[in-house]
Symmetry: C2
Subunit: 336 residues, 2 copies
Amino acid sequence: MRDVALLAGVGIKTVSRVINGEANVSPSTAERVRRAAAELAYEPDLHAGNLRRADGRSRTLGLLVSSVANPFAAQVHRAIERVATEHGYAVFATSLEDDPDAELRAVAALARRRVDGFVVTPVRDDQTYLRVHVDRGTPLVCVDREPHGIETDSVVTSNVAGARDAVRHLVSHGHRRIAFLGDLERIQTAALRQQGYLDELAAAGLAADPALVVLGLHDDASATAVARRLLTLPDPPTAIFSSQNLITIGTIRALQQLGLEHQVALVGFDDVETSDLLKPSVTTVAQDPDRIGRLAAERVFARLDGDTGPPRHLVVPARLVVRGSGEIPAPGAGRR
Amino acid sequence: MRDVALLAGVGIKTVSRVINGEANVSPSTAERVRRAAAELAYEPDLHAGNLRRADGRSRTLGLLVSSVANPFAAQVHRAIERVATEHGYAVFATSLEDDPDAELRAVAALARRRVDGFVVTPVRDDQTYLRVHVDRGTPLVCVDREPHGIETDSVVTSNVAGARDAVRHLVSHGHRRIAFLGDLERIQTAALRQQGYLDELAAAGLAADPALVVLGLHDDASATAVARRLLTLPDPPTAIFSSQNLITIGTIRALQQLGLEHQVALVGFDDVETSDLLKPSVTTVAQDPDRIGRLAAERVFARLDGDTGPPRHLVVPARLVVRGSGEIPAPGAGRR
DNA sequence: TTGAAAGCGCTAACAC
DNA sequence: GTGTTAGCGCTTTCAA
């Protein structure tokens, strides 16, 4: 900046004024400064400025997700980035891989970089530690999962309702023995989807068979193994509700291996990229990551703009996408 | 930091020493400082420190990709993040959506935030403007595409060789009329894959039929339309080489619509998530985004560690994954 | 309309 | 071992 001032033959403050588009600079002076800056390829140091700047904003957001490579998280990320860019903000994204300690480390690393806001997918079972940051004026919005120990804005999918929709859909096609393949129980969304499954079975007056409920699945291989086991039971399920992407893929593989993909109905939570190319095409309860990300980012900026209202808990509905696999009728469930 | 010093009853410099793990602090003093810091939930301001610190490192990397939501880019991103985290670095990722101006804006925004290194997927047809940053000591590594107008480290897929492998594979199954469905010509990887296609046809002594080469495809819908047209030609191709993910998906849809998925061979460049669940399963030339990202990040850190050797151009081989669709023989090409 | 001086939170250099 | 002083690149305050 000094060099630019020197080259333009003005004071350092005048350069600052031009850079920040402040008033009270004669057009000719401004032009001279801009030329000097261009010649030296000068880029102002945002951090140095922030040190003294009244608002002290780093124009940076911190995002914590399961993994930036996870398709759902990546779409949430993209939506947040879009809103952030409109506001002149850059986004730090960090992958937690469901590691509770990584959550702590990531928040600290971002706090040291003085992000203006956090968008967090909680992993730990207690987010109380985040209160300090909120109290210091760094807004926090939780996405995908509700936080524990802190009241803050959140944006989540309608997990229970979505799961109920899936099960109701299967019931309406005559199914009475519907299996549930769930993720690790400690993952909130997994628990909620299981709850929706149980709720809807109860509402339909159906007894849940514990033998058809398997939890703790986290990848497609384990899902394939479990689905194969269930499908070769003496009294196998006639339909399966798989609660997550990879589990759905694993389940399809099992169905194909057993040649049952046109006999046993399947509804998966979370959309699969090429659902419609499969045979049968996969009926899913699709989430709306774009909307989730957008709403979360908008909440952060609303808080940064001074919104001090009570925490808002936004629920983005999941949508049943009918494609074929979920409409396979139960055996002997023709019209009656 | 002053507050911590006050609370611990020490000078400000002692706090600095403890925070940075410098020597010459008595264990008891250090402990007192750490306690004070914990009590105040003090997080040092990384940027303020950098202002004076000798190395002036922000411990931050800037990444420019097509879109953080693109599966290939997201995996590259994750790999870079992994290496970055090991080094105590955070990553800014920016989506360019193939917009040349976005590239310029993103680089400026990251320069103002004083990133220590750039990993860039070039979009513009001239990267000369990046030279200033490299000269100022900010290493630059290009990924996926080679830059123009600047000599710098790069990590790319073996596009030509991969495309040749795909075509050779189809030729070995008796195909003589092989269509090529390509992305926008201005995208470097698209052009290279086309070149590989042409090279291999020539090497096999086959004439390329211009009617079977379609470029300028960028989404699955247009690919479906074009594939349908080609497949209903009087003298249709017996095999298709699709040069990119979405084009492969669009082509599969066309094949399914025409009921030709078991008659016409298909090899796609770029892996599709659920390739193996489709019928037939899709033979692809898979890239290795994890390796690309890791190598790129390692190059950045090597430069930051003082490597001043000549630019390195790393090529990560694409690998033919045989799954079924590419092994469909040409009609009448049985044993002979 | 412009610039000089002070200070943001921290580290470097040099005392003690 | 520890503290003091100066200064990083910028914005604020205030005087000209």
